[in-house]
């Protein structure tokens, strides 16, 4: 089955209010072209899920697309500093933060992938996350040990990932760091793949290393060369610092549509 479609088509399938897990980590292999498209399509009330997000979450907050964020860390690293649009949105009460320990996002996604309502989590000791995040709780050990923390399953409606290779059926391969992408595929109801390259049918069958994402779990495949820009794509391109800075310099939501238009031109 041919699942190739345009970015616009793929992103149109995401309704307002959807819970969306976004692949990659900080400024690494983030499906930014898809993120831009969500902003262009003016999504509303998205519930974002990520271990460590940066420009993706920042941009969707600036665009007013976001209702809540489940994450362990939302910030650029080092010189690019904090996600100010995200911060402002949270501080104004426009965006709800469910703060996690990165690992509790992983555990919550695992629970969804395993079809269970919650996952016990070792290690949540003295932390106010337990009181501030309603997805966390405690449970008795039925085998007689001490109580243990648990996190409720998080089952995103969508996972959006940017990969190196995908075939038209949706078999997909990431080279280098996978971050939480593969877990997101298993935990989510629907999966949108954006890919640097479309490979021929049967490409993966002839490999010693198989696609990590099976076609039957994928709903849409978008051919998006440079689809991670301005974040880095391992083996392909580094972070485009100027573009990150240009975004950080926008200041107000009114400037965003022009920026997004510019990105559309650049992608052509």
């Amino acid at each position: 089955m041919n699942k190739i479609c345009t970015m616009a088509q793929a992103i149109e399938s995401i309704p307002d209010g959807a819970m969306v897990a976004i692949g990659g980590n900080t400024l690494n292999r983030v499906p930014m072209e898809a993120v831009y498209q969500m902003a262009r399509q003016n999504k509303r009330n998205l519930q974002l899920v990520k271990t460590a997000g940066a420009m993706d979450i920042d941009l969707l907050c600036l665009a007013g697309c976001v209702k809540s964020v489940d994450a362990g860390y939302v910030s650029y690293e080092s010189q690019f500093s904090l996600c100010r649009y995200y911060r402002q949105a949270v501080e104004k009460g426009q965006v709800i933060t469910y703060e996690h320990a990165c690992y509790t996002v992983i555990c919550a996604l695992r629970a969804a992938a395993y079809g269970i309502p919650f996952m016990p989590v070792k290690g949540l000791g003295q932390t106010q996350l337990m009181e501030s995040n309603p997805r966390l709780g405690h449970i008795q050990d039925p085998f007689g040990g001490p109580d243990i923390a648990v996190v409720q399953a998080i089952r995103p409606n969508f996972a959006i990932l940017h990969v190196h290779y995908a075939d038209q059926a949706g078999n997909a391969m990431i080279c280098g760091p996978v971050y939480e992408d593969l877990l997101m595929v298993q935990a989510s109801e629907r999966v949108i793949i954006t890919t640097e390259e479309i490979v021929p049918d049967n490409y993966f069958r002839r490999q010693d290393v198989k696609a990590q994402i099976p076609a039957f779990q994928v709903e849409a495949v978008v051919h998006a060369p440079k689809g991670a820009r301005p974040t880095a794509m391992p083996f392909c391109y580094p972070v485009d610092e100027a573009e990150v800075r240009a975004f950080q310099g926008l200041g107000a939501a009114e400037q965003l549509s022009k920026y997004l238009e510019g990105r559309r031109e650049a992608a052509r």
Binding site: L27, S78, K122, T127, P238, E241
Partner: protein
């Protein structure tokens, strides 16, 4: 003149032992360089673990922008995803985790989450990343922070993101060690004084024996240049 970034990096490296598993997360250039420095100097069997999942990368060419990028994967011998690194810590197998934050109290409590009340934060911070589960489970959680002022080292944190096995705290001015749940001043860096530390710390400074941090040796200087030629350890300074 000794630069605080160099002193911090070297002093952190000295805390690491051969054969230890050491995790560095996002926005962690300074401890990443410290781990590579330790590996170069006295801990060749140190195993660096990280977010991209490259186990023990060899002479990685670090990126200025991220400490979670594929440069830590490319020259790795094996792969261990972030989820698996966390798992390792949860089952008691992680020796050292480097973590940072915006506030710390003298009981080793860390705030990386927010300023104000969590129901209506005045300032939303990046979040603790792995802190809440790593600080209680890593055998030694080493807290580092490139600022040492009274807004960082506070009487009481606004929000307790994590607390647990903090063993050491490294700042541009000094090195605290945890002793029976309390941070004690262990050594003051050569270019400063206990008075300056006290002035910049909102909790009372206590210590058993007051030491100066051992100055950086020539061997440390040259190893530092080799593992971090582009001075990424100083990014936050």
């Amino acid at each position: 003149m000794i630069r605080p970034s160099d002193m911090m990096t070297v002093a952190l490296a000295r805390l690491l032992r051969d054969g230890e598993t050491v995790f560095c997360g996002v926005s962690s250039h300074l401890p990443l360089v410290a781990a590579l420095l330790a590996k170069k100097l006295h801990a060749p069997g140190l195993v660096l673990l990280n977010i991209p999942g490259g186990v023990d990368p060899e002479k990685p060419r670090l990126s200025r922008i991220t400490s979670a990028g594929s440069e830590l994967w490319d020259s790795a011998a094996a792969e261990m995803t972030l989820a698996q690194v966390f798992d390792l810590s949860m089952r008691g197998g992680l020796d050292v985790a480097f973590l940072s934050g915006v506030q710390m109290d003298n009981r080793g409590g860390v705030n990386a989450s927010l300023i104000g009340d969590w129901r209506q934060p005045k300032v939303r911070l990046p979040g603790g990343a792995g802190s809440a589960v790593l600080i209680p489970t890593a055998k030694r959680a080493i807290f580092w922070r490139t600022k040492h002022d009274r807004r960082t080292f506070v009487q009481q944190v606004d929000f307790l993101t994590a607390k647990g096995n903090v063993s050491d705290v490294m700042t541009p001015l000094c090195h605290f060690v945890a002793c029976q749940g309390e941070l004690l001043l262990n050594s003051v860096h050569p270019y400063t004084s206990i008075e300056e530390v006290a002035e910049n710390t909102a909790f009372p400074i206590r210590y058993k024996v007051l030491r100066k941090t051992t100055p950086i040796s020539d061997a440390e200087v040259s190893a530092l240049r080799e593992v971090d030629p582009h001075d990424l350890r100083s990014i936050e300074f």
